[in-house]
Every structure is written in C-alpha cells, then in structure tokens.
Symmetry: C2
Subunit: 596 residues, 2 copies
C-alpha cells in the first residue's frame, strides 16, 4: 500500500509504493544528505529525526553507537539503518545536509546613521594613596565626569583587579549612563547581531558596531519546525506543558546562539565580544524567544502578554556576549502583527512622509499595511502556506531542485528554471505563481479558477481530474486542480486584506504611490503575475518595489541606531491594527478576492 | 606538656595539662554543648570543627556515620570522639550549643516615619475581547494610570496566567515605577529584613513593612570567625584564593538567610514574602556581603572598591524573598568607616541639628565621629579586641559564665555579677573595665599602669609577676599586669581618636552637648569607669547616652523609610574621613591616651 513521507524543514513530500530505506527516501526527495560510509551505518552522519510515524522504529546497534539516549528518545535515528513502510514525517537536521537550504538574508540596503546603544571609553584614573582615599568606582565617575554613572555589582567586582593590573587604566563599555562591562583594553570590534526570527527560518546579521557594516549574514532553519510546520501547531504543542514551551524556546535560542558563533568564527571574531542584539519576529516567535506564555496567542482574541519594546539581558535568553549585553526587542502590535512587520515598515520608510504606501509581507500569515491620510493601518490575513509549497502536490520551499520560474507557451510547452540548475524535484511559490498566472493568460484556467478539461494541454488523471504538466522528466512535476484551488484561496486572502484596507482608508489603486513587497516568496515572484491572478490590484509596475528581507534590514537599522529604535516605538504607537474578521462584509471581500 | 585550646566564636581559651576528650574540654570551657547520648558517639549532636591543630584527627566510624564527607574534609568531628593533646583551635557551631550566646540586637528605639521602598496595589483590568486587543501588560499600565510603569521579563511571564486565573485581578508589588513582582492576592504581611553584619555577630530584625513594627530580632555569630577572629586575618585568608573569598561570602550570606528563615518560622511568616532588605556593616563585611574583591582593603591605603549606596537583587546575594526583592546597601565612607558607622550616626540624629555630638562605637576597630561647626568628621582607631575578651588571660565574650561587673572593695575583696548567674569561667569587657577603673581608684594601679607589687591585695605568680584575683573559686579568675597593659593600649587608641577629633575641630570636652556610645561592650560598660581610666574625657554623666546597637536601629529606619535612605546618602556625602595615622603628632596623642 502506498504511503507518504514528509520531509522537514524543506516541506518536501514523497509518495512511495513500497518499503524503502530512509536514506534512499531522503535522497529520492532530492535532499543532499551526508553519508560518508555509503549507508553502512558506520559514519553516523545521516542522522534524521522521526517526528511522526505509525511504525515503531527500535534503535539499532548502530543507532545506539552514534546517538545519545536522549537523542534516541527524541526519535533521532541513522537514516541508513531505518526502514520506512508507513506514513512518516521526518526532520532532516541542517547538520546532516551537505548544502544549506537557500535562505534569504539580504534585504533592501538602506542609508541609516550609526548611533549604537553601546559605546566604549578608555580612561585613566589617579592611583590611590593615603591622601586620596576615593573608592575605585568614584575614581571612574570623576574621570568620566558624569555623576549619574552607575554599574551593577557584577561590574563593580571586576574593576579593582583591572585598575591595579593595568596601570590604573580601564575600558568602559556603556549603555547610556550605565557601565555594563569593563575590560582592560578597548574591544577591537564591538559586535552586534540583528536577527529576524521567522517561523521557518532565522536570518542573522553580524554587524561591526564601530563601522555599522554588516560583516556576514546567515540563514538557518528554525528548528521549532520539527514541532509543527505552522505556528498554530507549535502554539498547541507549547500549550500542552511548560516543558514543551521551554523546549521551543530553547530550540530557537540555541539555533540563534550557534548561528552567531558560526558567523563569528567565519569572520575571525569572538562571540563573547557581541555587545548588543536586536531581534524581530512575529508575535508568536517574539513570545517564544522571550519565553513568555503563549496560551493567549492560541485562542481568540489572540492577545499578547506584552506589546511594548523590551531590552532584557542576553544571558537570560541563553545568548552569547559580553556580560550585560542586552537584546533589544522592538514592540509588537497585536497577536498577528509582530515586530517583523514593524521592522519591515520602518525599513521601508513608513511614517517618514505622506506618500500613500502599501506594504505586503507574504507568508503563512500575510501582514499588509496601508499608509494614507496620515494614518498607518495594518491587517494580518491567514494566506496559508501554499506559496511556501505546502498543501501543493509537488510544492516545496525555495531549495535546490525547486522550479523557481516557469514559462508556459501557447502550445502548452514549458521552459523551467530550477534552483541549483539540477533535475527538478518540485516547485516553489514563485514557480507556482508563474504557472497559475500563465494558465489563466493562455485560457487554460477560467475566471472561476477551473482548469479547462477540454484543452489538449490539460491532462486527466486516473480519476478524471485535470492537471497540467510543468516538467516532463522521469518524475514529472505537475499542477492539479486541487493545487490551483489552494493558490487561489491564498491569493484571495491577501487580496481581501488589501481591498479592506483601501475601503477602510477610502483609497483606490490609482492613489497608491508605492507598493512594497517583502518576504522570501515576494523576492522571487514576478509582480506582473501577482497582478495577473488578482493577488495585487493593478498598479503601474514601476511603483512596485521588491525589498527582500526588509524585516532583517529594519532589525539592522535598530541594532546600529538607537534613534531607529525610538522611531520604531513611535511607529508602533501610531500604527492601528484592524481585525479583518470583524470588518463588515469581510466574507464578500474574501469571495471576491478568490476569483481568478 | 601543657597546651592551649581556643574556642570560637566565643573567644574562650583553656590551658590544659594533659590529653583531654574534646567534649570534656568544651564543657570545661563552660560551653553548654549538646550531647544527648552522653558522649557515646551515637546522637551525633556534639559537632565541632577543628580549625587548627598540629595533630591529625582521623575521622572515626561515628564521625563518618553522622557527618558528610564534605564536613569531614572541612574538619568537622564529633567532640566526644575526639582526643586533644596539642594546641588546637576549635569552632563550636551555634547548632551544637543549647543556649545562644547573648547577642545584643536591641538598639535605642526611634520615632521614624513609614515610607517603604516597596508598595502593593491590587487592581482589576478589563477582560480581553476582539474589540479590545490591548496586551495584558498594557491593561495593567492603563489601570494604574502610569505610562512609565515597567517590569522585567520574569514578571511579564507571570502576568497572563494570574489575570486569566483570577478573574482579571492582580496584585502588583512595586518599587517606584517598576513592577518587581505580581501575585494573585495582596501579601498579608510584606516583610523586610534589616541586618547589621558585624565581624563577630550578625544582628537581624524582621519588620512588618505595613506597620513598620519589628516583629522579632535575632543575633547569630558571624561564621566567618572560623577563618580569623579579626577582619585582617579574614582579609588575608580571602586574599589567598578566590575560592576562599567566595567561602567567606557564602558563610555570611547563608547565616543571614538561615536566620531570616528561622525568624519567619518563629512569627509564622513565609520567608518568600520578604520584599526588601537593608544591610549595614563595616567596609570589609560590606565587601564580603557583596562578594566584591577585598585585596585593596587589606593593604594601605585601604581603598574600597565602591563607596556609593547600592541596591542589588537579593537572589544574586543568595537571600530569600519575592522574586525581584532588593538589598539596600547604604554607602560606606572609607576602608575603616563602614555603613554600620553611618547607620549609627543616622539613628543618633547626626546631621539633623547643630549640637556638638561625639559618637563612639567601640569594637576591635572603634569608629568615632564628632559633629561640630557644621561639620561631621569621623576617624577609625585600631583599639583591638581586648574589650571583647581577646588577649586577656581569662577574657571572653559576654556569654554565660562571664563576669559582667565587679566591685572591688578597699580591702581588695570583690563582689562579682556573672552572666547567667552561674559559676564564673571568665570575664568580659565591661567587667574588665570595672576592675581596671577600681584598681586605679583604690591605688592598686599607678598612673603609669603598673600594679603595685607592694600592696597585699596584689599577688605574685611563680615568676614574680603581679596579678589580682577577681573570683577566688575553684578555678580562679585573675587579672595580670599583661592583661592590664592590653586594656590600656585599647583605651589609649580610643582616647587618641577622641582627642585628635577635638583638636581638629577646635573643641574642648566642655563644648560637647552629647556623647553617644554604641556597641555591645558600650552597652554594658559604666561610663564613669570609662572616664575613670581616661578612655573618655570627663564630661557630665547626664550628657552620656548609651544607645546599644544603634547601627541595627539605623538599618531598620532605612528599611522602612526611603527618606532615611536618602538622608543616609546625604550624611555620607557630608561626612569627612580623617586618617589618624597621618595626623600631625599622632604618636604623642596616642602616648598620652594610654596613661592610666
């Protein structure tokens, strides 16, 4: 009996006819897993985690040799020693994969001044003697000339030894009038880390706070994905027990810490010289990062525990850095409007001028903001994960082997671009959008979103259901009516959000000066195709700006500039949140939005 | 060959002729040690710690049964199983003693207003619903009506569950505009602990911050004494390794924590409802409490790491309380002028008016302050531990068995008062002062401090050295010429301090409106005898005020009233420290002071 295997975090799915070795299955899915020994169970590299299975997978001797008992308890196994014969959900850790998933970390680059929260000052003080019995700390206050200077006990404990071992010279690392750390010498490169914590991926930017330059960027999968692909599943997992919630918190924090350490190693810096952090994310990620209770985010009315900006100590969040390093967490607006949206708007110039601006960050939840009439109103719409490849037969994330773009000719023939120039194994969001838009354009899809069964370019499956073939290789990549339905639901949700915002602020498409589109899918999609299927209203193409990971860009702005932090706080104050589901005639807007 | 046994923390010494069982030795020293089984090694109660010994004391089977391996490593043994035959220093823990050492915890009671740093407020907020998506924390801010309210992440984590489980009602525990903790219900009795951390004893006062009433007080020995009777010995021990310093820190903090827990148990309160602390002490104790480096306090010019007031979190100092509870540490002035002296002056009205005031806190170091001509000048003088019984043949602290007062008649006969109305085993400071003053008065001691060998009341020992017998019981308590020399050195140091202050501020004894005397010895001594031996200048007796543990009283004032904290900070600013050793003609003042 055929069964399905799902691979996370890539979101790939395989249908398999008979029992299969898990290593073969992973490879068949196109995932470049490590297996130095060639599947003999001796190298211990092809580690996978079995997340769900109707089968029991007893650890083999090889599993027991290479994996800890805790890992075994958590379902980790060597792929080569595992046989799959029923529906199974597998997590392939990044450490088992030869090449990283493509992770978008670049955002529109912005001119932003340098005004970091953390500054350094190296001072010399008078040596103590019997005629001058001033305490060590008072000497420092007098040398700096600021009586309001203060320091916590951990800093005070370090001062005497440094002064006496360094010829009465000391380097102060300060946040406003607080000495947060002291060292013998000036830090060569005070480092900052800006992080956009997405549900799927975590984008990290390592910044030199002396120059404001981003030294390196890195995207890693959010390991929480093993406990639910969408955030609702994770909220439900976290709600089951405090241990579960703690686990999700720790998984993400460990991933950020390790990513920071790897990036520091790459550029030859010491992660203990990280002096400041700025983290943005949707409200659920924000709460998981802060280990705040998430129960209220899981049920209506989806109220956050806190919305104000916070600046907790990094060590309390298990992040590396100098003692006293803090993590700036910009405000969130509502349960479904997080600091990533705020950061995106900040980086895109919202709140800076009077232009009519539409900002869209497409994801499983799509946040949309409209700036007009001196107001900024934001909505969040449940567009679902279709554009990330989920619920689509051959859908996958933008990874090697994914069809990224497709051209459909009048005769139904196609030309595909595959990520990594390899054999196609699936299709990602931008490819799906291309396909649906062109099927509509070529008349292969009607206004109600049905594939035209009578057209010879459309094939029929064994059950008489229509589908279109995108890539006619050994394992064909196809698009079914069901896949198209998913896409239309997703784009309908986005369009309904846009239309309601325009209705609410009495704006028509021609009034819009600029459309800013962010997010991974948004970076690769063609705006003309998004208009073609009615995801966006029709607007002159030159007014559409693709900004990549703008949330990451905003996080970097706030990392290097405290004025940007204040601007973000003011933006959050000014922003209004509109709850779509209580908007009059929401369902009519939605029904109109779905139309192809 | 005879050998000596020293018992801490009482400071008692025994001279023993031959091998002795340690339980017998402890009892012979008059210490009421527990031994339920009568010395059979079965009850495990008579625990002692061998601090120094030229012998090795291998653990017996009984030791191993009743003590942990760590305790055995640290020299703990059952007294009844231990044989002593060489010079040995023994610590008798409070837990092994049936009755506590007399610990002075009462100070002059003062009228002081109630204005605690920590306040409570129980509020109700609007329940969240789809038309009001304000975050939990914003609801609280709005209900209190103070937009500057803030809370750290540990508090924010607790809020959602309390609000939802308590019908949207919550109790806020606040310090200024910071919410430091939240609970379902109002704390019945918000507790505060004021502590005077002395080198010898720790005086603790448990206060109800709602009423300002002190619920109970308790004195416990400072267990650091096992590592040095005087603070210089402890500084030297701490300087040997960071582990040693950490040990001294932990010993004191553990003693305070346990004392707090015991006191809470006694009055039926929960130590986790302690919301605030105020700790005072000499500068060395202040640094040990804060785990600050003490190296600079051990060598000239004796400069503290920090002198400003601090308010670190209680949990970081290993103290019990609500999460977020702080420990107010008033300023210290110099290496030998601590916050206990400041607290004593605050409680005694220094800085409040223009009266000419002399404040004296007699101890191993005696701190003296003179208020005159709108100035307050303090000195510290190394008076040594003679008044605490050290370096005196039969000297001991004010414990059961100590001669507290003595009357010497013209015929050389004596009448003694013994603490606990028991057989005398030694003599404490106030008794020694009585004796020396009356020996001088009766002409048995001349102006140069020599016992008159020709007087029949003075006896001579085997070496022809004179001594006076105070108590002619089975084991006589006597006072030798050497003992008297020690007392004269001690009182000379005190008198030199007073004279130099008067010289510095151009004051004569008749200008002095009030002499305030604090400290354990100061409480029991007769001022006329202190004047009789020249420790104090001659001043009308009605101007002398004995205030007991005034430092403890000041700590209680600061605990319950933040204005008292500000007053203490201003007093510390105003106070001047005068370094005696660099004062012109210091040695002449000292030589004059010693004269009997």
């Amino acid at each position: 009996m055929p069964f399905r295997i799902e691979f996370q975090p890539l979101g790939l799915r395989l249908e398999i006819a008979r029992e299969i070795n898990a290593l073969d299955a992973v490879r068949q899915a196109g995932i470049n897993i490590m297996a130095v020994c060639g599947g003999e169970g001796t190298c211990g590299k092809c580690v996978i985690q079995i997340l769900e299975s109707t089968d029991t997978h007893h650890p083999t001797a090889a599993d027991q040799k290479h994996l800890s008992s805790q890992q075994l308890d958590e379902g980790f196994r060597l792929a080569c020693m595992t046989t799959l014969s029923t529906d199974t959900k597998i997590y392939v850790p990044g450490s088992s994969i030869l090449e990283d998933q493509i992770m978008q970390t670049d955002g529109e680059s912005h001119q932003h001044g340098l005004c970091p929260a953390i500054t350094q000052q190296t001072i010399s003080v008078e040596k103590a003697h019997l005629k001058d019995l001033t305490s060590d700390f008072s000497r420092i206050i007098n040398a700096v000339g600021d009586q309001s200077l203060h320091a916590d006990i951990r800093v005070l404990r370090r001062i005497p030894a440094i002064l006496r071992g360094n010829d009465w010279q000391i380097n102060l690392i300060m946040r406003e009038n607080q000495i947060m750390h002291v060292t013998r010498d000036k830090l060569d490169t005070p480092l900052g880390l800006a992080v956009d914590v997405g549900s799927t991926k975590i984008a990290c930017y390592l910044v030199d706070l002396d120059s404001g330059k981003t030294l390196t960027a890195k995207g890693v999968p959010n390991p929480q994905i093993a406990y639910g692909e969408d955030i609702m599943a994770r909220l439900s997992y976290a709600g089951e027990s405090p241990d579960n919630a703690e686990k999700l918190h720790m998984l993400t924090m460990t991933a950020i810490r390790q990513s920071a350490e790897n990036m520091c190693r790459r550029v030859g810096c010491d992660p203990h010289e990280i002096v400041d952090y700025c983290l943005v994310g949707n409200t659920v990620m924000h709460h998981f990062v802060l280990d705040l209770p998430t129960e209220s985010l899981a049920i209506s009315p989806f109220v956050p525990a806190v919305t104000d900006s916070l600046y907790p100590p990094a060590d309390g969040l298990h992040l590396t850095g100098i003692p006293g390093a803090g993590v700036f967490m910009p405000p969130v607006k509502a349960g479904f409007i997080g600091s990533d949206h705020l950061s995106f708007l900040l980086a895109s110039g919202f709140g800076n001028d009077k232009r009519v601006r539409l900002g869209i960050d497409i994801g499983t939840n799509t946040e949309i903001a409209l700036q007009a009439n001196d107001r900024i109103v934001s909505v969040s719409t449940a567009s679902g994960p279709a554009f990330e490849g989920a619920h689509i037969r051959f859908g996958m994330r933008a990874s090697p082997g994914a069809i990224e773009h497709v051209k459909i000719f009048n005769n139904g023939e196609t030309k595909i671009d595959v990520i990594g120039d390899q054999h196609p194994i699936g299709i990602c969001g931008s490819g799906i959008l291309d396909a649906v838009a062109q099927l509509r354009e070529r008349g292969l899809l009607n206004q109600r979103g049905r594939l035209s069964k009578n057209n010879p370019c459309i094939q029929l499956d064994a059950h008489g259901k229509p589908f279109f073939t995108l890539s006619d290789t050994a394992e064909a990549v196809t698009l079914s009516q069901k896949d198209i339905d998913q896409i239309l639901l997703a784009k309908g949700a986005i369009r309904a959000g846009i239309d309601i915002l325009m209705d609410y602020l009495r704006i028509t498409p021609k009034d819009i000066d600029e459309v800013v589109i962010a997010g991974a899918f948004g970076s690769y999609m063609l705006p003309e195709h998004a208009m073609g299927i009615g995801m966006l209203p029709t607007i002159p193409l030159e007014r559409v700006k693709i900004v990549g990971n703008a949330a990451g860009a905003g996080a970097q702005m706030m990392l290097v500039n405290i004025q940007a932090r204040r601007a973000a706080e003011m933006l959050a104050e000014k922003m209004e949140y509109l709850e779509l589901t209580v908007y009059p005639e929401f369902s009519i807007f939605y029904a109109n939005g779905i139309r192809a």
